[in-house]
């Protein structure tokens, strides 16, 4: 079972590299924001898979939930900042 999770995790890391292209070379700031948000959702799944590999799922579930909350709030804050052209 561990081999399966390792292969899936490596595949997801490769997808994260693809999203990183958009995060670095996006023509506008909003493109970069969408890329980073997509990387955030894949990071959650990679954290859970690491929890399965190390055998301590309960610990990594807490970390995943914290990261999902912070990703949500961060994306909202940056989007609101960019929408009203400099004010929040």
């Amino acid at each position: 079972m561990q081999q399966f999770f390792l292969i899936v995790g490596t595949g997801l890391c490769f997808l994260v590299l693809l999203c990183l292209y958009r995060g670095v070379f996006g023509p506008t700031v909003l493109n970069r924001l969408a890329g980073i948000s997509a990387i955030g959702t894949k990071t959650l799944v990679i954290l859970l898979l690491m929890g399965f590999i190390y055998g301590r799922v309960d610990m990594f579930v807490d970390i995943s939930m914290v990261y999902s909350i912070l990703n949500f709030i961060g994306t909202l804050a940056v989007a609101k900042y960019l929408e009203t052209k400099g004010e929040v």
């Binding site: 309960d58 610990m59 807490d62 970390i63 939930m65 914290v66 909350i69 912070l70 709030i73 909202l76 804050a77 609101k80 004010e87 929040v88």
Partner: protein, 145 residues
């Protein structure tokens, strides 16, 4: 000044999520010695919950719930709890923050007294971090009013 966002979806979802974010932050503070967490992490999540309220509902509405005076009081209470427990251990007769000496006041063993002492310190740190984050955010946003 922060206005409220005029998108129905964001306003409703943030309003429904906020109690769950707050209870998760308190869970992270209280279970600091069983799973990753502790005082500072829980305080950051609690502060982020209030910042979410400010972004989506506007600064005035959030100030109605959590006024600036209460915020300043919480900053001081956080520090007071932290150093208060340390001073209490010093007064009883040990070193600063030597929690095992708390077993002289509370009817528990020395190991349990250490655990309770650390829990109290974490709570103080969490409250302080939350109040300071909210205060810095509202200060930057209103331009120093």
């Amino acid at each position: 000044m922060i206005r409220t966002t005029d998108d129905v979806i964001i306003k409703t979802v943030s309003r429904i999520f906020t109690p769950f974010i707050q209870i998760f932050a308190l869970y992270v503070i209280m279970h600091g010695h069983y799973s990753p967490g502790g005082g500072f992490q829980g305080g950051v999540i609690l502060g982020a919950g209030f910042i979410l309220l400010v972004i989506t509902q506007g600064l005035d509405e959030t100030r109605r719930r959590f006024s600036q005076k209460l915020d300043t009081i919480f900053c001081s209470i956080g520090l007071l709890v932290y150093s208060g427990i340390g001073m209490l251990c010093l007064i009883i007769g040990g070193n600063y923050l030597d929690y095992s000496k708390l077993s002289k006041i509370l009817p528990v063993l020395a190991a349990k007294a250490r655990s309770l002492g650390i829990l109290g310190v974490e709570i103080g740190v969490g409250i302080g971090v939350m109040a300071v984050m909210y205060s810095i955010f509202s200060d930057i946003v209103t331009g120093g009013e």
